[in-house]
């Protein structure tokens, strides 16, 4: 009882804070839409003339959703460092609350915010010719939550060891952007150098992008095309994301336990 209500309080606070920050809501749509318009718009015809079997805008759309989930989740979890600098983290750490509830509450907050925002972005799907039904929405939400948990786990591991927001830029450059580029958002990972295959396997985003792509585009693909575009069945993606989330969240709890 105490544990769950503590998780609920911290989650609630994350969501409330997010809703109060209109600028953050507006700007977090900017990057995904920019990627969609610039890369999608710029490469669509080139790819079509080179026999790329899927409309390129449609191809990168799942990656854009994943990018949005990751962006929101990493920002929410790294904002813990902000809390530390501005003191509020002390209030939470001084409270009679298990450290695991703090990490889990932060991650749940990020998952709710990230999924809500990703659903808003999903409204753009018909514009690039992607149609989906109720079952897809359910499947998508499961993977959005899983992906958000995995990414916030990573963010919290970093946040529990990061002393100031100054390192934020470095984390974005050396971790977050490579994670995005290696996730299979822009090109299929079925025909890439071995090192890239290896690295992409430990990138949680890979499994999110693969799942989103299979849910949104899989039904319209012939088996041959799907074989080249989609790496894993959904359940494998789900298990991998779940595994990564558990490992990272456990590490995050350890990080907070030092206080």
């Amino acid at each position: 009882m105490g544990f769950l209500s503590a998780v609920a309080v911290i989650t609630h606070r994350e969501v409330l804070r997010y809703m109060r920050d209109r600028i953050r809501i507006a700007t977090s749509f900017f990057q995904p839409i920019m990627f969609l318009l610039i890369f999608g718009g710029g490469l669509r015809n080139v790819m079509a003339s080179r026999d790329f079997p899927v409309d390129y805008m449609q191809f990168i759309f799942p990656g854009i959703i994943a990018l949005n989930v990751m962006g929101v989740a990493i920002f929410s979890s790294l904002s813990t460092v902000w809390d530390r600098e501005f003191g509020f983290l002390k209030e939470i750490l001084a409270a009679p609350v298990p450290r695991s509830a703090i990490a889990l509450g932060k991650a749940s907050g990020a998952a709710i915010i990230a999924s809500a925002q990703a659903f808003l972005l999903l409204l753009l799907a018909p514009l690039v010719g992607i149609r989906f039904g109720f079952v897809q929405v359910l499947e998508l939400s499961v993977f959005m939550v899983l992906l958000a948990f995995a990414v916030s786990g990573l963010g919290l591991v970093i946040a529990s060891r990061m002393k100031s927001m100054e390192s934020f830029g470095i984390v974005m450059q050396v971790l977050v952007f490579p994670m995005f580029y290696l996730s299979g958002s822009f090109f299929p990972l079925t025909d890439v150098p071995l090192w890239m295959t290896v690295v992409s396997r430990i990138d949680p985003l890979t499994y999110g992008v693969d799942a989103f792509r299979s849910i949104l585009l899989g039904d319209d693909m012939s088996p041959a095309i799907a074989g080249a575009m989609i790496a894993h069945p959904l359940y494998i993606n789900a298990l991998c994301l779940l595994g990564i989330s558990c490992v990272l969240l456990a590490a995050a709890v350890r990080g907070f336990r030092r206080y």
Binding site: R13, L16, G87, F88, L89, K90, E91, P96
Partner: protein, 326 residues
């Protein structure tokens, strides 16, 4: 019964010892003050007693629970008002209180009543729906006190509670604190480097460079200085000091170009002194000893002295602490 028991509590940050084996105990319902300059180890001690920092060695218990091994039990029984604000500035005053109450498991049906009570106590009832980012420093501090009280802690820790507050707010705040002690029998542990604030405490531990150098009631501490303090200003303070020492055998201290010494009966001593002195004097002040004098006497330097090595020491300590404490 002792609400706080501290035995040889020590905290080191690498090479630097922030708290050097202090021992003391605090009674139920007492206002206990830690008086000392910045960097003396006051905040480090509060952090250890409130479970935010693990002691390097020694033991401490709060409300009967060990601060190292029974952290959650300690946390439930204490309220904390930090030196730096720790409110969520994007939430309203009421939301900050509500989240706190839920983290401390205040029953929901109790919450409404207590929230009203503590907000009235700190005069913020009519601002309960205001966002924290629109609050002044004084309002934030008052709200933090309200928040620290809403779960009815046995011990309230106040770390420099009036730092940066205007005199009026400061006076108000002391009214609340004294009322809490009287009406609730709450134990209050506070740190300060303001001498006049320390006067409100039932007992004071004077702390300097990580050690407790004196511990008594404010009245006893002042009485230990003997009668009165005479302060004199002169163009030639060194000559004045030398003359006072050789003629009267006084223990004379210098501070900011003035000289200080203690006498048993200042009123009778002063006329004779002024008649006999050869060094010229610009100004004379006769007063009862303050805690500032006590501090100067015990430690040999003033609590906010600019040039003492204590300040350098405090700085290096703060640097070390910032790097490691996290």
């Amino acid at each position: 019964m002792n609400v706080i028991e501290v035995d040889s509590l020590t905290k080191t940050f690498g090479e630097i010892t922030a708290v050097a084996g202090i021992s003391f105990s605090v009674n139920q319902g007492e206002i206990f003050g830690f008086l000392g300059p910045n960097g003396a180890g006051k905040s480090t001690t509060i952090s250890m007693l409130s479970t935010l920092l693990a002691p390097t060695s020694g033991r401490a218990s709060v409300a009967g629970f060990d601060v190292a091994t029974q952290r959650d039990a300690v946390r439930k029984n204490i309220g904390l008002v930090f030196q730096d604000p720790s409110l969520d500035d994007r939430l309203t005053a009421e939301e900050n209180l509500r989240f706190h109450a839920r983290l401390y498991q205040v029953p929901r049906d109790e919450y409404r009543r207590r929230m009203e009570e503590v907000l009235h106590l700190v005069d913020l009832w009519d601002r309960k729906d205001g966002l924290i980012r629109t609050f002044s420093g004084g309002m934030k501090r008052r709200l933090e006190i309200a928040r620290g009280l809403i779960h009815y802690p046995k011990v309230l820790f106040l770390d420099e509670p009036t730092l940066g507050l205007d005199p009026q707010t400061r006076a108000h705040l002391w009214e609340y604190v004294l009322r809490l002690k009287q009406e609730r029998g709450m134990t209050i542990f506070m740190t300060t480097h303001y001498m006049n604030e320390a006067e409100y405490c039932d007992r004071i531990a004077v702390i300097d460079r990580g050690k407790i150098v004196a511990l008594d009631t404010p009245a006893n501490l002042k009485a230990s200085l003997g009668g009165d303090v005479i302060r004199m200003q002169s163009q030639t303070p060194d000559a004045l000091k030398a003359e006072l020492e050789s003629r009267y055998g006084k223990d004379v201290k210098m501070e900011d170009g003035s000289v200080y010494f203690e006498v048993d009966n200042g009123g009778a001593f002063l006329p004779a002194l002024l008649k006999d002195l050869e060094t010229s004097v610009d100004g004379v002040e006769l007063r009862k000893p303050t805690l500032e004098d006590v501090f100067l006497r015990i430690t040999g330097h003033a609590i906010r002295s600019e040039d003492s090595s204590g300040k350098e020491w405090a700085r290096s300590l703060m640097r070390a602490g910032r790097g490691r404490r996290g």
